[in-house]
């Protein structure tokens, strides 16, 4: 009896500690240091202009790829047209693994793996949008999200022969030869990024109704099988 109660209490503790990633705001000073990695491409603050990347003033609540005077990757244009907006949760997912969110982004940044680092950086950027108080609660659509993929999912060894069969569902739209007119190419994609992207659709973090529907019914093994097939697809 007491053993069971203690176990429940321990479980409750675990959840309180590890769940909502964004429950409290990050450290702006720590975020400013982390921002040094972004500076060579992105300006922020008074007088910021576009550089290699777009400036980051007024980022929160803005639709992705929405500056008319900046040339974005096709990937980001599609994501923006599909409804992607920058909020604490979407920035968190993007910063963790940029290519999982927008496969063809020209931002050559591997991502911040540490959830606290992302929280700090987002807190720093949040100052340069309206209503900077109460990060992230001031942003009406911000929600705690847990997009961290279970390492067990990433560790799954896919069955490429099953992947070859399942790929038939992809190649009706995505060209097996890798062309990307209107629909992105998915060949030679590193397995981990493929898996992260498919799970982001499955969990509805990436916006696209067809992909949410297709990924939504794929199991972990099936996603792994597809990733194993597409990474090695030759010609």
């Amino acid at each position: 009896m007491t053993g069971a109660v203690r176990l429940l209490a321990a479980l409750a503790m675990t959840f309180t500690v590890s769940s909502p990633v964004m429950a409290d705001s990050g450290d702006i000073a720590a975020g400013e240091k982390l921002y040094n990695q972004c500076k060579s491409c992105h300006q922020v603050g008074a007088g910021a202009k576009h550089g290699i990347g777009p400036h980051l003033n007024g980022l929160f609540g803005r639709q992705a790829a929405s500056f008319e005077d900046f040339r974005y990757s096709k990937s980001f244009e599609r994501a923006g047209a599909g409804g992607l907006e920058w909020h604490a949760d979407t920035l968190d997912a993007f910063l963790e693994n940029p290519r999982a969110m927008a496969s063809g982004t020209r931002m050559s940044f591997r991502g911040l793996k540490d959830a606290d680092d992302r929280k700090h950086l987002i807190a720093y950027l949040r100052q340069y949008s309206d209503n900077p108080a109460n990060i992230p609660e001031a942003d009406p659509t911000a929600e705690p999200s847990d997009h961290d993929l279970d390492p067990a999912i990433l560790a799954l060894q896919g069955d490429p022969e099953y992947g070859a069969y399942l790929s038939g569902e992809c190649t009706t739209c995505h060209q097996a030869e890798g062309g990307d007119d209107g629909i992105p190419s998915i060949v030679y994609w590193p397995e981990e990024q493929f898996v992260a992207a498919m799970h982001a659709y499955k969990n509805k973090q990436r916006n696209h109704p067809v992909m949410q529907m297709i990924a939504g019914r794929l199991g972990d093994e099936e996603i792994a099988a597809l990733a194993a097939y597409f990474k090695d697809l030759d010609e």
């Binding site: 047209a81 399942l166 009706t172 209107g182 529907m213």
Partner: protein
């Protein structure tokens, strides 16, 4: 009697297969043979996948009368001026290069006991597995006054190619302020949003070239695919041009006179300048010749698209009666890959995976105004059953509509590469 004999043979063959090597079905004539009738979204895909994935273990023959295949999907965009006819034409050279034996001829008979297909040009082909993907034909007498001899005066333009070009030529030579009439088909039919995308594309052409012209649609249905999206688009882009008469207002009570170019709708006779008659549809004729139809369509098992009448015949695409999937090129392509996997497994013992189907239909309403509807499906004991779906919403942003149209162009490139190699 012959049914009993076939049943008996089927049972003994299955028993033999379970005891011996999987090549049992090909016993006596070397490599197993697959014959595919019809080189569209279902047949071309099935032929290509079986040839490609069996790597020479299976002889694949495709019977298709035309040398150049003009897709029916996207043909409305040709009517609207968004595509050239050449953009829609595809040769079979890529399939031949993939190892498919392409025979340009008509299949005119199927002997299910001898397992042969006879050709209009003479001779016959033996098969172990026969895949029929003949698309659609029209139900005789479906529209009073119309038959195939009237298709020059009143084109259906519901098979891609010369009929589409004819309808466009008639549209271009319509008198100023003239009337374009469409007689829409009853369910089920090929490409559920197709007639209404066509109305949109005809309206797009007329708005630019003949803005006082009118479009009248007589429809035997009370509602249609993507109805809210099309009606919103017609109001926004072509206000006052389109008059849709549904079944509640007599749209199903139609007769035509191709000689006089008149159409009677619910007793009211109208003079029309162009009349696009899309009659009720049925499975392509060869399916009935093979004896695998029940009524207008060919019932199939959802797990592998095999005919409910004959385990060695499979029916794909528009001709099949499978359950919840719409009749579309996307559906046929999806079904073909499930079927190819099953046929290969049956003939060579390769791994057979569970059936998964999907479909998305894009439609263009006006320049950069694309919409879509789609769903995923699974095989149950009774039918192909819908799992999940989505549809574009009214009032979407112009950016999203443009992205949807660009996506449809990407899909066209993707599916035609998937079909023809």
């Amino acid at each position: 009697m012959s049914v009993n004999r076939r049943t008996f043979l089927g049972t003994s063959a299955a028993a033999a297969a379970s005891l011996s090597a999987p090549m049992a079905f090909a016993a006596g004539h070397g490599k197993p043979r697959v014959v595919v009738v019809g080189g569209g979204a279902g047949g071309a895909t099935a032929a290509r996948y079986i040839a490609k994935d069996s790597q020479g273990e299976i002889d694949v023959t495709l019977i298709e009368p035309t040398r150049t295949y003009y897709t029916c999907f996207f043909s409305n965009l040709y009517l609207g001026g968004f595509k050239e006819m050449d953009d829609l034409g595809h040769s079979y050279g890529g399939l031949a290069a993939n190892g498919v034996n392409v025979v340009h001829d008509w299949a005119i008979g199927v002997d299910r006991d001898a397992k042969t297909v006879s050709l209009a040009g003479g001779g016959s082909l033996g098969y172990d597995k026969l895949i029929l993907s003949p698309g659609i034909d029209f139900v005789d007498g479906a529209v009073e006054g119309w038959d195939v001899t009237a298709q020059n005066a009143m084109p259906h333009a519901y098979k891609g190619g010369s009929q589409t070009e004819l309808l466009k030529a008639q549209l271009q030579s319509m008198p100023e302020g003239g009337t374009f009439m469409m007689v829409a088909p009853p369910n089920p039919y090929r490409c559920p949003p197709g007639p209404y995308e066509r109305v949109s594309m005809v309206a797009h052409f007329l708005k630019a070239n003949n803005p006082t012209a009118k479009i009248i649609v007589a429809d035997p249905k009370a509602k249609f695919s993507k109805m809210a999206l099309f009606q919103e688009g017609w109001n926004d882009h072509y206000a006052g041009m389109v008059d849709w008469i549904g079944s509640d207002f007599g749209g199903g009570n139609v007769s035509v006179d191709p000689g006089a170019m008149t159409v009677s709708v619910d007793g009211e006779v109208m003079n029309v300048d162009v009349c696009n008659v899309i009659p009720a549809m049925k499975a392509g004729h060869i399916a009935a010749v093979a004896g695998v139809t029940d009524g207008n369509w060919a019932p199939v098992n959802a797990a592998d698209m095999s005919s409910k009448m004959d385990e060695n015949i499979y029916v794909l695409g528009d001709a099949s009666q499978q359950g919840d999937m719409p009749k579309s090129g996307f559906s046929a392509n999806s079904q073909a890959k499930v079927c190819a996997n099953a046929v290969r497994g049956a003939l060579t013992g390769s791994r057979v995976f569970p059936a998964k189907f999907s479909n998305t239909c894009w439609s263009l309403i006006d320049t950069n105004d694309g919409v879509k509807v789609g769903a995923t499906y699974e095989a149950t004991d009774e039918k192909i059953a819908k799992v999940d779906g989505f549809i574009s919403q009214t009032g979407e942003s112009a950016e999203l509509r443009k992205a949807t149209y660009e996506e449809s162009e990407g899909w066209y490139t993707g599916i035609t590469a998937d079909m023809f190699g």
